[in-house]
Symmetry: C2
Subunit: 337 residues, 2 copies
């Protein structure tokens, strides 16, 4: 019988995810029922939000239950099908979780079929909900940038940030990134075409923003939180918009009483709009984003780099690398099975 | 010659405003020029934002310069006029500042003529920019309440908060206030008609909100900041709106590095919109608000209580009482000259 290997959450991590918080098991899959598919996971998206789901802080979905498969988005290839719409070899994407196979009715699994010939890694990196669509809706819907305005994004060499700046440029904005280290900054400006990138590890972020944003900041796409966000808040223009996508600097500290932004009063003084968003709320507009993003990728106007780790067993390490912030990673973190 | 007595800002207060931060002087007014008016201050609005203007933190207007008259809104009665549109006895409202007379062209002074027979104290309390109009635009434009939703406002017995809840009720919402002490809470529920009021001095605010907002909070009109705001954030519904009007709990601590809301991550988790606003941005819509508010007052649907202090010299004390939070004051703080 085919099996699925799974990582279950066995306890809630305190601080960094520990191997002891996970249980590895193998389950046998039953015979395929009517209208079902069985698919083998090929690529897994690794996203900071997985670390949030492991905590039981108040959040936007129920946390992963203890004993439940760790939740995550991936791509799988159909191995067997009794469903008329899915053939062996088709690629599907859904919330697969940290496991090597899924089985069931594709409707119940929430499977989306990828267009034939799609590169699954690049799909996860440029179009998938946690990367391209997050950048797309977060920038355009929440950030409301106008051509000529200045857009600042932190974690700019990362999966989402790298796309945000490129989309801002496509929209006629000035794009300024913040990233850690000269290699990432060079990637952001030279390969992706941002107007400037501030190296938060080697220069004062405030001084860098003053230099790169002489007319202030109109839109902030916020991934990080903490002191970098404070420096941005201080330089927001009147009526600026903050698209709050993530606060990865705090994700390993869930449960601690972390102070909010010290410059929070700027929200009042500069009449800012700060708005959080979660990509799942845009499910009924995924097709719109996929069409736009897919076209830009096809035209060579939007690119992403993959940061690939190999093998199912590397999932915990990949998440630690992503959330710990110690990685020299550029682009979208994925695990290839 | 007529004179004007003035309070000038002589140094920036550290913590509470001290008398040493002010200089009292008397200036002689020149002869009236062509198209000018001279008006004697009769009522002064006392607002927490004056304390912000005294600090040189980043803010929405230039801070009051050292040596400048303290800025504030008031009502004055015309004593002399060479302007065809203003007659002796007319009442005008503008940014008079802490002084007993103003003189000049009414256009340059930004004077708005009050309708004949207007009670100046009640005008400042229910229609004036820092009270009624602030409540009006902050609730409806920023808060976007829908009938049936729950609106929470803190400083609910104060000048703005007391109006916010009444406007929310007029709009078909559930209105919940937070105020300090049984007298204020009784005023809020029994006189103003809020559905509930939490006494933050005598009960746990979180437990009170759980009781008074069984379906969560859709709109928060925020005047206070600090721990009360955190309790509200924890209970905001998905897609809730926070209308950020003030953070009076921090106004005597400008310059200190105060932490932002500890529950700031809720903005992401619950996909909140947090938006700051300043009433001066709505100048081109004052007429709309004045018409609506004036009609509700005339119909007895909107009320405010005046907290009156007497005499020009009481201005510094009035501000200290307002910002210090130790007062048992209910309603709109005004000084009658």
């Amino acid at each position: 019988m085919p099996t699925s290997r799974q990582f279950l959450l066995s306890s809630r991590p305190e601080g960094e995810l520990s191997d002891d918080d996970l249980e590895l098991r193998e389950v046998e899959l039953p015979e395929l029922g009517e209208g079902e598919i069985r698919a083998r996971t090929t690529w897994m998206s690794v996203d900071p939000t997985i670390r949030i789901w492991m905590s039981d802080i108040p959040q936007y979905m129920p946390p992963i239950a203890i004993g439940e498969v760790v939740r995550s988005i991936g791509v799988a290839e159909v191995e067997a099908s009794t469903h008329p719409g899915f053939a062996v070899g088709d690629q599907v994407s859904t919330m697969i979780g940290w496991q090597t196979r899924i089985q069931g009715k594709p409707e119940a699994l929430g499977c989306m079929k990828l267009p034939e010939g799609t590169d699954p890694g690049m799909f996860l990196a440029t179009v998938g909900p946690t990367s391209g669509m997050t950048a797309y809706f977060g920038l355009f819907d929440i950030g409301e940038p106008k051509p000529g305005e200045t857009v600042v994004v932190d974690a700019a060499a990362g999966a989402v940030g790298s796309l945000v700046g490129q989309l801002a440029k496509l929209h006629g904005c000035r794009a300024v990134g913040i990233a850690g280290g000269p290699e990432k900054c060079a990637y952001v400006t030279e390969e992706l075409g941002f107007d400037a990138c501030i190296d938060y590890k080697n220069e004062d972020v405030g001084a860098g923003l003053d230099r790169a944003c002489p007319d202030g900041i109109d839109v902030c796409f916020e991934n990080v939180g903490g002191p970098i966000f404070d420096e941005i808040l201080l330089r927001m223009n009147n009526f600026g918009r903050v698209s709050l996508c993530g606060m990865v600097s705090g994700y390993n500290r869930a449960g601690e009483q972390l102070p909010g932004p010290y410059q929070f009063p700027m929200v009042l003084m500069r009449r800012l709009k700060v708005q959080g968003f979660i990509i799942l709320d845009y499910a009924d507009r995924y097709a719109e984003a996929a069409a736009k993003l897919g076209a830009w990728v096809a035209q060579g106007k939007l690119e992403s780099r993959l940061h690939v780790r190999e093998g199912f067993e590397s999932l915990p390490d990949a998440l630690r690398e992503l959330v710990g912030g110690k990685s020299a990673k550029i682009g979208k973190m994925v695990v290839r099975f």
